[in-house]
């Protein structure tokens, strides 16, 4: 599913965020990427989500090399991913429903189908009763769950999460991780970057450790 070959990412200014990283992730697996801040976790996810291009090496997702995609194809590729961030990045002038519906609008789906899918996604994260609210009236945990609903509403095969529990207390964090477990059980490949080792210690999934831009 995900194949990174000898990835080097050097930012202008000479800072090398990733050096010679190779990684293979099977379809349907759930993998954690850990390491201190600055270890290169976010850079890795940005490369996989085609937000960045590697300085050298190849990023191959589903047998498709991302290195030479043009801007439009990158956007199209991203529209088929589920991406979750530390900050939920919701649109505060649109309701919870409209926020979750965005990926479906991008795919040009019919309004009836959109309503069905959005309700299913909101039901999954337990926020069906808050669909009409604006995100600012929700708690941090609820906002993150709206972000997750938005990331899974279009049924992506690959879900990327960058510190999804970074802003949440331990109880909420566990709840979010349980959600990811559920998605994993239905066959979604999930890649989660987190520095919270205690949270993932009890979960029996592969852990990739990054240190100074290298896998160790």
């Amino acid at each position: 599913m995900i194949k990174l070959e000898q990835i080097v990412k050097r930012y202008s200014g000479g800072f090398e965020a990733l050096s010679q990283v190779s990684l293979n992730i099977e379809k349907g697996s759930m993998v954690f990427i850990t390491g201190h801040s600055g270890a290169g976790k976010t850079t890795l996810l940005k490369l996989i989500s085609a937000l960045e291009t590697p300085t050298s090496g190849r990023v191959v997702i589903n047998n498709q090399c991302l290195n030479h995609l043009n801007k439009r194809d990158r956007a199209y590729y991203r529209s088929n991913l589920g991406i979750i961030f530390q900050m939920p990045n919701l649109l505060n002038n649109r309701s919870v429903f409209d926020n979750v519906a965005l990926p479906l609008h991008i795919h040009g789906m019919q309004p009836l189908m959109i309503a069905k899918r959005v309700h299913a996604a909101l039901d999954m994260v337990g926020l069906l009763d808050k669909e009409k609210l604006l995100p600012i009236y929700l708690s941090a945990g609820e906002q993150q769950r709206v972000g997750i609903a938005r990331a899974v509403v279009h049924k992506p095969l690959l879900l990327l999460a960058d510190e999804p529990t970074g802003n949440l207390d331990p109880m909420l964090s566990t709840g979010i991780m349980k959600l990811f477990e559920q998605f994993h059980q239905v066959g979604v490949s999930i890649l989660i970057a987190t520095h919270d080792l205690s949270l993932i210690a009890g979960m029996k999934h592969r852990i990739v450790m990054l240190k100074d831009g290298k896998i160790c």
């Binding site: 960045e52 529209s79 990926p103 991008i106």
Partner: protein, 309 residues
């Protein structure tokens, strides 16, 4: 095929409605922009309406620049009639008015003081005069000159009289008015382009975070641009409707004064406000300008915004 067409329509309809909602969300900005667009559209349109009116008027005025033909004396009535027919058939001749010496004499006698003078004349010295009004299609003085040359070739004509200077002056003035109208139209269309472009630039700035999020979750620039394109079209449409109202209001308010002026100048012409077709034309042009402006201003700005990361 039909399904994808329906999807595309739903897609565009959604973008159009969404963009309209965006405009309603910030009513003051929207109203100010629409008023500015309306004023920018009204000025060249007014010039256009007035210049078409002027065009009608010059045709009327050109009748002042008619050609007088003095017919040789001693021509029989039958010959005169065939001459009239011949003149009528010359291309470029609009109206032909025959003025017999008797009629001209009566006209002269009717003038104050002339009656007594006329009594001393033993016979009517006035020639038969044929006044030719050039046809409406003849605007250029050169074209009228050409017509004149043709008429001069007729053997029955003694002399011709044509107020060339007057027609030339009128045409020059009319030409100037038309040129000024075109220049104003160009400049103010540019103005509309810039106003809409600038407003959309501000709109993009206002929705900067939203655009970054949309890009992040895979929206293409075209998808993000679509509602903005519709915003441009909405601005054009609403601005044009207001402009049509303003122009009609203006024409109605000056119509009585203009009519009075024309009456003083002994001219019969009814000033009209915008016709329905003209109004549609303005609305269409304004929508086109709004769309064009959006297309020109959005693309570069959107591509310079990077997705959230």
């Amino acid at each position: 095929m039909l399904n994808s067409l329906r999807e595309l329509t739903a897609y565009h309809l959604q973008a159009a409605i969404h963009s309209f909602n965006l405009l309603i969300l910030r009513p003051i900005t929207t109203i100010v922009t629409i008023v500015v667009i309306a004023v920018a559209l009204s000025l060249p349109t007014l010039c256009w309406v007035l210049s078409t009116s002027l065009n009608q008027l010059t045709i009327d005025w050109q009748r002042g620049g008619y050609i007088s033909l003095y017919v040789k004396t001693g021509i029989s009535d039958v010959d005169q009639k065939s001459l009239l027919d011949k003149i009528h058939k010359i291309p470029g001749v609009g109206d032909v008015i025959l003025k017999t010496p008797q009629a001209a004499m009566q006209e002269l006698q009717a003038q104050e003081g002339m009656h007594d003078v006329m009594r001393y004349l033993s016979e009517n010295p006035l020639p038969t005069v044929i006044d030719i009004v050039p046809s409406i299609t003849l605007h250029e003085p050169e074209a009228i000159e050409k017509l004149l040359d043709e008429i001069k070739l007729l053997p029955q004509i003694e002399q011709t009289n044509f107020d060339r200077e007057w027609v030339i002056r009128l045409n020059a003035l009319h030409g100037l008015a038309i040129k000024i109208t075109y220049i104003l139209m160009g400049l103010l269309s540019l103005c509309v382009l810039l106003i809409v472009g600038n407003t959309l630039r501000l709109l993009i700035h206002y929705h900067y975070d939203e655009i970054r999020v949309l890009k992040l979750i895979g929206a293409t620039d075209e998808f993000i641009a679509r509602p903005l394109m519709y915003s441009g079209i909405w601005y054009g449409l609403l601005g044009a409707i207001l402009a049509v109202l303003l122009i009609n209001l203006f024409m109605l308010s000056i119509a009585p004064a203009l009519q009075e002026l024309l009456n003083i100048c002994h001219m019969r012409y009814v000033f009209h406000s915008l016709s329905v077709i003209e109004a549609y034309q303005i609305v269409f042009i304004a929508m086109l300008l709004g769309w064009l402006s959006a297309k020109l201003s959005i693309k570069h700005q959107l591509s310079s915004i990077a997705p959230y990361n």
